[in-house]
C-alpha cells in the first residue's frame, strides 16, 4: 500500500490523500479528460488524491476507494447496477458534469418514442436502451460538479476542499453576474439568445466571454426566474423555439422546458 500522506502539507499539516476512483456511464468522457487537462497544475492536483481506479487512463483499478467521480447519464440496466455498486463502495459520490447531474444532451432523444429512436439508428436490430437519467434518480449523490464540460478550476477547488475537509458550495447566483463582472457586451444587445440570467454561475461566464450565449449547461441558479427571462427574450425578438432549444439542451432546465412546452400546447389550443 502506498503512503497516503505522501501528498504534501497544508500550513505544515500533512494532507490526507483520499483514495479516488473515476467512472463513466453514457457520455463523451470529456469531463474525465478535463481532469487530465490544465497540464500546469496536474501534478499538484494529482498530489492531493490517490487515484486507484481510472479506466480511461490506467490499468489495474481496485474497488477500494473513498471518493468516486461518476461522469455520464444512466440508460441501461448494467449502468444502473454499476452505479449502485459504486455507491456501495464510495463514501463520497460526485456527479461529474451535466450528463451525471441532469442527464445532459443524452436526454434530447427522450423527446421521441423510444421505438422510433431505436429504429432510426439501428433499424430492426435489437439494441437495449432506456431513458437517459441523472445519477440522483437512482442513488444518493453527495456532490455535483456542473457543466458541459466541467471547468477544471472548479474540479480543482472541489478536490482541494475535500482534501482539506472544507465545505463544498456552488455559487447560488447566475452566470449573468460573472458576465457583467467580466465586462462583456450583453449578448442580447448582440442579438444572441442567452440563458445567463438564470443559469448557475461558477464557469466564469465561459461561453459569453466568447460572445456565445449561455446554453444553461450548469442548470438553474437558485430562485431562477425563468418565466421572466422568457418574457425578456421574447421582447428581444427571440422565437419561442429558440428559448426552448436552450432550455432543453443540457437537461438542467428540464422541468422548465416541460412547462414551456405545456404552455405552448395550451396556447395553441
Amino acid at each position: 500500500m502506498t503512503d497516503r500522506n505522501a501528498g504534501g502539507t497544508f500550513l505544515g499539516v500533512p494532507l490526507y490523500r483520499p483514495r479516488t476512483a473515476f467512472f463513466e456511464l453514457a457520455s463523451c468522457e470529456g469531463c474525465q479528460l478535463q481532469v487530465l487537462n490544465n497540464e500546469a497544475t496536474l501534478a499538484p492536483f494529482l498530489g492531493l488524491l490517490e487515484i486507484v481506479n481510472f479506466r480511461e487512463a490506467m490499468t489495474g483499478g481496485t474497488d477500494d476507494y473513498e471518493i468516486a467521480f461518476v461522469e455520464g447519464s444512466v440508460s441501461r440496466k448494467d449502468e444502473e447496477d454499476l452505479l449502485k455498486e459504486i455507491r456501495g463502495n464510495a463514501r463520497v459520490l460526485v456527479a461529474l458534469g451535466s450528463c451525471a447531474c441532469f442527464g445532459g444532451v443524452n436526454r434530447l432523444k427522450d423527446r421521441f418514442d423510444p421505438d422510433w429512436t431505436r429504429k432510426t439508428v439501428y433499424g430492426e436490430a435489437p439494441v437495449e436502451s432506456g431513458r437517459a437519467r441523472p445519477l440522483e434518480d437512482l442513488v444518493a449523490v453527495d456532490l455535483k460538479i456542473y457543466g458541459c464540460p466541467v471547468k477544471k478550476e472548479e474540479v480543482e477547488k472541489v478536490v482541494t476542499n475535500i482534501a482539506l475537509g472544507k465545505a463544498v458550495v456552488s455559487p447560488k447566483y447566475p452566470v449573468c453576474m460573472e458576465c457583467k463582472a467580466n465586462e462583456n457586451i450583453c449578448l442580447f444587445d448582440l442579438g444572441e439568445p442567452c440563458l445567463g440570467p438564470v443559469t448557475r454561475a461558477g464557469c466564469d461566464s465561459w461561453c459569453p466571454n466568447s460572445r456565445a450565449g449561455c446554453w444553461g449547461c450548469r442548470g438553474p441558479a437558485e430562485d431562477a426566474n425563468v418565466e421572466q427571462l422568457e418574457k425578456i427574450m421574447q421582447e428581444h425578438g427571440f422565437a419561442q423555439e429558440t428559448i426552448l432549444d436552450r432550455l432543453e439542451c443540457f437537461g438542467g432546465f428540464a422541468r422548465f422546458a416541460e412547462a414551456f412546452r405545456r404552455r405552448r400546447r395550451e396556447g395553441a389550443e
Binding site: M58, R111, A132, P149
Partner: protein, 424 residues
Amino acid sequence: MKVDCRIDIRNLTRVEGHGNILIRIHDGRVQEARWEVVETPRFFEAMLVGKRWENVPWICGRICGICSVGHTLASIRAIEHAFGIVPSGLTEKLRLLLKHMETLQSHILHLYFLSAPDYLAAGSVFPLIESSPDVVARAMRIKQLANDLVDSVGGRRMHPTRTVVGGFTMLPEKEELVPFRDRLKKAVDDLLMTAVLFGSFAVPEFSRETEYVSLKGVADYPFIGGDLVSTDGVLRGEDEYREMTNEYIVPQSTAKWARLSRASFAVGALARLNNNFDLLHPLAKEVALNFRLRPVQHNPFMNVTAQLVECVHVVMRSMDLLEELLDGELREARPKVSPKAGAGVGAVEVPRGILYHYYEFDDTGHVRKCDCVIPTGQNHANIQHDLEELAADCLRKGMDDGRIELLAQMLVRAYDPCISCSVH
C-alpha cells in the same frame, strides 16, 4: 507449442469507451478472437431530428470529448454545404489551426498517456510523474500548448465556443497569438525528443494486408474536406461518403461496422500517411523515414508512430499558419446564415481517422435526417480481423498467455479507439 489459452478482458483500460477482448485457444487452435463493443448508445442521429440548424454543431460536438473540435468542424462544414455557404480564407486558416492543435493534443495524449505505459511496463502515466518527471513534463508542455492555442482561437479546449456556421463568434487578438511562436518552436524540439523516446521502444512485429481510407490531399496533407481515397485505388467525392463506408450492424457491437473493397478497412494516422506520404512536411517525412515508416505500411502497431510523425507535421504547418495570421488582418464580419432545404456532407480528418457528418434540412433549417460515421466505427471490423490474425500469429510463435494478452491490448490501443464516439 502453445495449446490452451483463455483471455477475457472486460472493459479494456487506457482507451476511450467500453470494449472487451476475448481470445480462446484450445488444442493448439484459435477457436475465437473477438473484439466486442458494449458501449451504451446515445442516439445522436435521432436526437437531432426536428432541431434547428443552430443547435446542431453545439450538440454534435458532444459526441466526443477528445475530438470535439473535429466533430464541431465536420458538423459546421455539412451545414455550410447544405446552405451553400463558402467560408472566408481567414476562417479556413483559423479552423485548420484549431484542427492541427486538436490533432496534436489528442496524439500526445495517446502517445504518452495511453500507449507509452505499455512500453515502459507501467500501468499508467501516474507513476511516471515520479519516475520520469522530464518525460511527463515534456508531454504536458506539448499538450498544454495545443490546448492553450485552441482556447485562444476556439474559445475553449473542449466543446469550443467560438466556432459557428459561417465563421467565428469572436477572433483572437494578435498579441494573444504572438507567444505561440516560441512555444511552437519549443514543441519541435520536444517532439524530436519524443521521437528518440519512441525510437527506443520495440514495436511488435506484425503485419496484415489492409485497405487504408482517408481524405486525399492535393496541395497539402489533408485535414478538412476533399476527395476520399483508399490504398486499394477507390476514389470518391466527399458527398459520396456512403459508398466509402457501407455501414452495417453486427451483434457483437453497439457501434456499426464498415467495409469497402475487402472485409474491412482502416482509417487514422497510418491511413492518412499511407495515402498522403509525399505531402508531409519535410521534417515529418524525415522522422517517418527514421522509423522506416513509408507507404504502404501494414503493421497496425505503427499507427502510433504515424501519430508522432503527424505531430511534427501539424506543428510545422501551424508555425506557417501563425505567421500568415499575424501578417494579415485578424478581423472579419460574421456572415448572415440563410437556411434552405437541402443536404450536406462534412468530411474531416479527426485524430482517429476520417469523420463524416451528413444532414438533410427542410426549408426552415430544421433537421430531417442525420448520419454520423465515426472513425473508430470504421476501424472496429479491422480491429476484429487483426485480432484474429494476431492470435494465430502469437500461437505460431509459441508466446505465453501474458504476452498474448498484452499484445492484444496493445493492438487495440494502437488504433487509439474512441469507443463511445463510435457508438454515439
